[in-house]
């Protein structure tokens, strides 16, 4: 196959899989059971890591803005204002989803890949179950449902990090930070982050599920699928970020 045709071939296989995934679930009772399980596994179990990373990044952004941007010629709210804009516009949606592509994406790819090589997916097919829909649809919908909450937690934790540095580090007063965080607040920026993250959540769950579901071989291939899923999810998130930012801004 020509090198240029390979990505097209892969994209075609991805579309084929998605056509199988988005079909009516055979048993709604089983679907909801899986859906709740995936929301727990992909969303709730990611809250701690998302909040921890956001907390420290919020603190670091605040320090960097204060040390490197703030000058006597700039208003005192600059640090709080820029910290808020970075968190709302990019970090809590795009960068947080890049982090989730590593955690959740590799989890999905390795779980499905292991199910494939241990013939658990074949077992589902033999039973007459649409394995793609049964396994992948709850993951996609579960992550898409949970991502706005993760974005919200990330924003709150980032602000908490910024406040923590104002209290502990003493480089900015809480009043200046609060004024900066509130200054010129545009509610649309929050929605923009949430909308972007929903697209990213779809990319993470569907692309990593594609790589895991189509594994052919053994443990080495499962590892490769996991790596490929993280790499491709990250690339696609960055590409999508450009287009979404341009469209939504």
């Amino acid at each position: 196959m020509l090198p240029l045709l390979k990505p097209l071939h892969t994209f075609g296989r991805y579309l084929e899989l998605m056509a199988k995934v988005f079909s009516k679930p055979e048993r709604l009772r089983m679907f909801f059971k899986q859906y709740v399980k995936e929301m727990q596994q992909l969303g709730v179990d990611s809250i701690v890591i998302v909040m921890m990373i956001s907390f420290f990044i919020g603190a670091v952004i605040c320090i960097q803005m204060k040390v490197n941007i703030q000058s006597p010629w700039m208003p005192r709210f600059t640090t709080g204002y820029t910290t808020r804009e970075i968190l709302l516009l990019e970090f809590s949606s795009s960068i947080m989803c890049l982090i989730l592509a590593g955690k959740v994406g590799s989890n999905i790819a390795s779980e499905l890949g292991t199910m494939r090589v241990t013939q658990q997916i074949d077992a589902l097919e033999i039973m007459g179950v649409n394995s793609a829909s049964f396994l992948i649809l709850p993951k996609i919908l579960g992550l898409v449902t949970m991502i706005p909450f993760l974005v919200s937690f990330s924003i709150v934790a980032g602000f908490a990090g910024a406040y923590a540095i104002s209290f502990v580090g003493g480089i900015i007063t809480a009043e200046d930070l609060t004024y900066g965080l509130q200054h010129g607040f545009n509610q649309w920026f929050v929605w923009m982050g949430v909308i972007k993250s929903v697209f990213f959540a779809f990319i993470i769950s569907s692309v990593s599920a594609f790589y895991g579901y189509t594994v052919d071989g053994g443990s080495v291939e499962v590892g490769k699928a996991s790596t490929d899923s993280v790499v491709h999810c990250s690339m696609l998130i960055l590409f999508a970020d450009i287009f979404l930012t341009r469209i939504l801004s």
């Binding site: 089983m30 241990t118 658990q120 074949d122 077992a123 033999i126 039973m127 007459g128």
Partner: protein, 256 residues
């Protein structure tokens, strides 16, 4: 009954199955035997629909599985049970949940009835005490028995076993063979077993097909296997020195 008519399967230029014809009778344990790489797993995958044959017909009680619609295929698959080489239990579910899974998906019974049916199946394979354990907490032989319980949960008409004794000690293999044989007769199923275990061949081989390099080399029963003069079959069956010596002893005894 399952009937294969001139099954061919190729992967690009390589022909793996070359015109297999066979009849697998209901209530019998039908064995497909052959060396590793002979094409028996590909044949099994074609029969259950995991692979599409390049040409030929697969008839399930007269219904052509190859040419039927996707919906008909899905419905037919609900009449099948399969035991995989690796047992293929869902590792995120307990033993009981594994057996209940096909019932949860396709049975309209209430939860209590589904649970009772799953427990009956586990009782049939003597594993009721392990119902709350997870697959990684039980032995390989027990996993195979759970797979049997899961396969029979929906009272299938067709049972497929891909190397069910793989990785098991001879004693446990006998238990699994006896279980498959007795269940086949009890549920009046058409059972096809893919194996290269000689104990299975001699124990439950009511009907045997020997595949060699994708060709159907020999067909017969366990009683005919020992008397066969097919060189390839003899070479395969008596591959171990122990069996070779036993055969020589048998022949010498017959000559005396």
């Amino acid at each position: 009954m399952i009937e294969l008519r001139s099954i061919h399967k190729s992967f690009e230029d390589r022909e793996v199955l070359c015109g297999i014809n066979a009849r697998f009778e209901t209530g019998h344990t039908n064995l497909i035997i052959g060396q590793s790489g002979s094409g028996k797993t590909v044949l099994m995958k074609c029969i259950v629909g995991l692979l599409q044959p390049t040409s030929g017909e697969i008839l399930y009680d007269g219904r052509d599985f190859v040419r039927m619609s996707k919906k008909e295929r899905t419905l037919l698959r609900r009449e099948m049970g399969m035991i995989f080489q690796s047992a293929a239990l869902f590792d995120s579910m307990s033993v009981l949940e594994n057996v209940m899974f096909p019932l949860d998906m396709f049975s309209s019974e209430n939860l209590a009835d589904r649970k009772r049916r799953a427990q009956q199946c586990l009782d049939r394979v003597n594993l009721i005490e392990a119902q709350d354990k997870y697959p990684d907490e039980i032995s390989g032989g027990m996993q195979k028995r759970v797979a049997i319980a899961r396969a029979i949960a929906l009272n299938p008409r067709y049972l497929f076993c891909d190397e069910p004794n793989s990785g098991l000690d001879p004693k446990t293999s006998l238990v699994i063979d006896d279980l498959i044989h007795s269940i086949t007769q009890e549920y009046k199923m058409t059972t096809i077993i893919n194996t290269h275990d000689m104990n299975s061949v001699m124990g439950i081989g009511e009907s045997i097909i020997f595949i060699r390099q994708g060709h159907q080399e020999w067909t017969g029963t366990k009683d005919e296997v020992l008397r066969s003069d097919n060189a390839y079959l003899t070479d395969f069956i008596f591959a171990s020195n122990l069996l070779k010596n036993a055969r020589h002893a048998l022949i010498e005894k017959g000559q005396k």
